[in-house]
C-alpha cells in the first residue's frame, strides 16, 4: 500500500479539530437546558452520530446496488466501510440516547420508533458482518453483502413507519415526555452547536470511511497474495 495521501492527512487533522470544536460548543458554548440539565449536552453528539449512522446506511444500500450493477470491487469496499463506520456510530447513538433517556424520561430504554429502529438497524449491520464472515469467496461475499444491505435499506424505513403508526394510535406512557422533547426549543447558541455537531460528525465519518476503504484494499491484497502463494 502506498503511504497516506496528503489529502487524507489533512482530513485527519481537520477531523480532530472539528471534533474538538464540536465538543467545546456542546460542553461550554451551548447554554444549559433548563428542564433536563447538563445531560442535554449529550444531545449534540447523539444527533451527530445518528445522522451519520443513517447516512452510512443509505450509502451502503446505494453502493450495494452500484456493486450489483457494475460488479466493481471498489463499490464493495465502500459499502463495507460505510456499514462498519455506521455500526460504530449507531452504537454510540443508542448508548447516548440511553444515557440521556435515563434522567430525562426516567428510563434507560423506551420502545420509541426512533430508538427501536436504530436498534433494529444495528442488528441488521451485525447480521451483515456475520453473513460476510461465513463466505470465503470474495466475489460471492460482495454479492451477498450487497443484496443484504439492499434488503436492510428497504426494510428499515418500513420498520420505522410501522412503529410510528402504531404509537400514534396507542399513546404510551412516555408519549408526554416525548412530545416535550419534540418541542424542546433551541435558542441561537444551541442551534450553532447543533449544526456544527452535524457538520463535525460528517467530516469524521468521511475520514473514517476513507481509512476503512484503505484497510479494505489491504485486505483484498492479502487475500490475492494468499491465493498466489498457495497455488
Amino acid at each position: 500500500m502506498q503511504s497516506k495521501p496528503i489529502a487524507l492527512k489533512i482530513l485527519d487533522v481537520v477531523s480532530i479539530i472539528v471534533l474538538a470544536i464540536s465538543t467545546y460548543l456542546a460542553l461550554f458554548f451551548a447554554p444549559t437546558e433548563l428542564v433536563m440539565g447538563q445531560v442535554q449536552r449529550v444531545f449534540y453528539f447523539h444527533i451527530g452520530t445518528a445522522w451519520v449512522g443513517m447516512l452510512g446506511f443509505i450509502i451502503a444500500a446505494v453502493s450495494g446496488v452500484a456493486y450489483l450493477i457494475t460488479k466493481d470491487m471498489r463499490w464493495d469496499r465502500f459499502e463495507v466501510a460505510a456499514v462498519e463506520v455506521s455500526t460504530v456510530f449507531f452504537f454510540l447513538t443508542i448508548v447516548l440516547g440511553s444515557i440521556w433517556a435515563r434522567p430525562a424520561w426516567n428510563t434507560w430504554w423506551t420502545w420509541d420508533p426512533r430508538l427501536t429502529t436504530a436498534a433494529v438497524t444495528e442488528l441488521i449491520y451485525i447480521a451483515y458482518f456475520m453473513l460476510r464472515q461465513g463466505i470465503d469467496d470474495p466475489e460471492k461475499r460482495a454479492r451477498f453483502g450487497a443484496v443484504y444491505t439492499l434488503l436492510g435499506g428497504v426494510s428499515a424505513p418500513i420498520t420505522f413507519m410501522v412503529i410510528r403508526l402504531f404509537r400514534t394510535i396507542h399513546p404510551v406512557i412516555v408519549g408526554a415526555a416525548n412530545a416535550n422533547q419534540e418541542k424542546m426549543s433551541m435558542n441561537g447558541d444551541m442551534k450553532i452547536a447543533f449544526f456544527f455537531a452535524l457538520f463535525a460528525f460528517t467530516v469524521i465519518f468521511v475520514d473514517l470511511i476513507w481509512h476503512r476503504i484503505r484497510l479494505g484494499s489491504l485486505e483484498d491484497k492479502v487475500e490475492q497474495l494468499k491465493l498466489k502463494v498457495s497455488m
Partner: protein, 55 residues
C-alpha cells in the same frame, strides 16, 4: 431555574463513552492495518522464495 436537575454525571458518562468508543475503533483500524501490512510482507517474501525452491 430552580428545578433544573443536576445531571452532570450522565453528561460526563455520555462524553466519556463517545470518546472511548471512537478511540477503540480508531485503534482497531490501526491494529488491523498493521497486521495486514505484516501479512503482506510475509506473503511477499514467501512468494519470492517459492520460485527459487521450485527451480
Amino acid at each position: 431555574m430552580e428545578n433544573t436537575p443536576d445531571t452532570s454525571t450522565y453528561m460526563i458518562a455520555g462524553f466519556a463513552v463517545s470518546f472511548i468508543t471512537m478511540g477503540i475503533y480508531i485503534v482497531s483500524l490501526y491494529i488491523r492495518s498493521l497486521n495486514l501490512k505484516r501479512d503482506i510482507e510475509t506473503l511477499e517474501s514467501m512468494q519470492d522464495e517459492k520460485p527459487k525452491s521450485q527451480k
